[in-house]
């Protein structure tokens, strides 16, 4: 699949933003955070998720109809995501306002924010995980990876040892995801044979192109990434998003300025991870262009 920068930025930034909001919500529920910190970190989360959502808006080819995306929540994960994110962010704004004016907070609002932001990240991941046409996304690891990447990122600034646990879970899921992604269509029934109505093991190849130039389908869904570069990018991503923040947390536990530095590295790593998420994903339509 085409790794569009607008979508990658959207999943990275809003993922981190909602991850931070859910961690703030959890700490608010457990009374483990000061009122000032609720305001500061909720605002950071709000800014990141909003910038992410604006970035996804730029992916749309017909932006004037974007508001209609809130209408089909009964069947569409993208619609659920739009509603859930707007709803969650409104409560964040309300919570910030309440804490700012009253200088105290309601614990129960925290758990609502925690669950609602997790649900929002889940809906984002389901946009991809629902697609049978892309087997490397069409499994439980996609939502798991999105949720734990967001929680790990969100916890770096606010937690010490709990952050280590979340990072560790994220790291394991990431490696597992890559392992499954490598198998892509290997265990699926789809081949060029079934794509053309023959049996699975037919020996068929295209001898002429259906069109003389590239088209939307090829640009959007038949993206090929060089295997040797993909492996290198996996190393870069894993080091920046996992190994580096993990080791710095162990060396400097509870040092806030170090954790800001770690967070930057972590997000760069997640950016590479999401680039691979798209670039390495093989779509069923590519069989017609074998």
């Amino acid at each position: 699949m085409h790794p569009a920068p607008s979508i990658i930025l959207f999943t990275v930034l809003s993922g981190f933003g909602f991850g931070l909001i859910s961690i703030v919500g959890l700490l608010q529920f457990l009374s483990q955070i000061s009122a000032v910190n609720i305001i500061i970190f909720s605002l950071i989360g709000l800014i990141f998720s909003t910038v992410g959502l604006i970035s996804s808006f730029f992916h749309l080819a017909n932006k004037k109809n974007a508001i209609k995306s809130m209408s089909q929540w009964q069947t569409s994960w993208l619609s659920r995501e739009a509603i859930s994110s707007i709803f969650c962010l409104s409560i964040v704004v309300g919570n910030i306002g309440w804490v700012f004016i009253q200088n105290r907070y309601i614990n129960e609002v925290g758990i609502v924010l925690f669950l609602l932001s997790l649900f929002t990240i889940f809906t984002t991941s389901m946009i991809y995980a629902q697609l049978k046409t892309v087997p490397s996304w069409n499994n439980i690891l996609t939502p798991a990876l999105f949720i734990f990447a967001a929680l790990a990122g969100g916890s770096i600034l606010l937690m010490d040892y709990a952050s280590l646990v979340l990072l560790l879970i994220f790291g394991v899921l990431q490696v597992w995801f890559w392992y499954i992604a490598d198998q892509s269509f290997m265990y699926k029934e789809t081949t060029i044979g079934t794509a053309l109505g023959f049996s699975k093991n037919e020996n068929i190849r295209a001898f002429d192109f259906a069109h003389t130039n590239r088209n939307y389908l090829l640009n959007e869904m038949v993206y090929k990434v060089a295997r040797k570069h993909a492996i290198k990018i996996r190393y870069i991503s894993f080091f920046a998003a996992f190994v580096f923040p993990m080791s710095l947390t162990l060396i400097f536990p509870g040092n806030f300025s170090v954790s800001v530095f770690m967070l930057v590295f972590h997000l760069v790593g997640i950016y590479f991870s999401r680039w691979l998420f798209f670039a390495e994903a093989k779509h069923a339509v590519s069989f017609y262009y074998n």
Binding site: M1, H59, L60, A61, N62, K63, K64, N65, A66, K68, S69, M70, S71, Q72, Q74, T75, S76, W77, L78, S79, A82, I127, Q130, L131, K132, T133, V134, K188, E189, T190, I192, T194, A195, L196, G197, F198, E202, N203, I204, R205, A206, F207, D208, F209, A210, H211, T212, N213, R214, N215, Y216, L217, E220, M221, H283, A284, V285, Y288
Partner: protein, 247 residues
């Protein structure tokens, strides 16, 4: 609404015969022509007369070669690819704006361009590459089964079929109701074994394909032996043949 209807009444679709198709791209051209003229909703082209032209099409014809395991010969065939108007259309349920929908009365899958926001998710959900985003208007385009022809009251009755069916010079394309067991398409599907594309994707396509007939060893053998020893030429050629045979 992006909820899928039952479509118990009619299931309109196409039957495409890969044994007959000669890959002339006539259906591609006539489809583009019909869907780009006479209305504001065009299928756009960019750089159409310059380097790197790209354009939106609702129908594409691929060319493949397949190894015949019986004769060890390679056979070519042509494969027209367009929307299959699936019963379980994943492109409809993923749509966030409600622009994608499946008609209850005949099962045709359509896009309401006034609602489409051009996110492209429906094209991702389709395993067949049936949907293309129009890069000029920014909305998703797909086969409408020529809904403006099949229900037209102005066109003469014989023209009330999709334009790809009407224009096909070999009769490789047929249009009809797959829900009616007595329709021509249903009978042909039964007789020759109509095939679903990628059944494992569980989309339940309405459109069916008829595969190329498998050529046997005998038919290939008879082609190989033409014009070797004997000739049954008559007239001037016959005289030349007889004259030359004397030496």
């Amino acid at each position: 609404m992006t909820k899928l209807p039952k479509c118990e009444d009619k299931k309109l679709g196409l039957l495409i015969d890969l044994d007959t198709c000669v890959g002339c791209h006539g259906c591609v051209v006539s489809c583009k022509e019909w869907n780009s003229s006479g209305s504001e909703k065009q299928l756009s082209d960019i750089n159409s007369h310059q380097k790197d032209p790209v354009g939106t099409f609702l129908n594409r014809v691929h060319s493949y070669e397949r190894e015949n395991s019986c004769t060890n010969e390679t056979e070519t065939f042509y494969f027209p690819r367009s929307c299959l108007h699936c019963e379980d259309a994943p492109c409809v349920t993923v749509c966030p704006t409600g622009a994608s929908y499946k008609r209850e009365e005949d099962g045709i899958v359509l896009v309401n361009e006034d609602d489409c926001m051009g996110c492209g998710l429906c094209a991702w959900a389709c395993p067949y590459g049936a949907r293309e985003l129009d890069l000029v208007s920014g909305v998703m385009k797909k086969c409408t089964l020529c809904i403006d022809r099949i229900y037209s009251e102005e066109l003469p009755p014989e023209d009330r079929v999709p334009v790809c069916v009407k224009s096909c010079p070999t009769g490789a394309r047929a249009f009809g109701d797959f829900n009616d067991p007595n329709s021509d398409v249903s009978k042909k599907v039964k007789e020759r074994g109509g095939i679903d594309l990628m059944p494992e994707m569980q989309t339940k396509p309405v459109n069916k394909y008829l595969l190329p007939r498998i050529k046997s060893k005998d038919s290939v053998g008879s082609v190989g032996s033409v014009g070797e020893e004997e000739t049954d030429a008559t007239g001037l050629l016959g005289w030349v043949d007889r004259a030359l045979s004397k030496f």
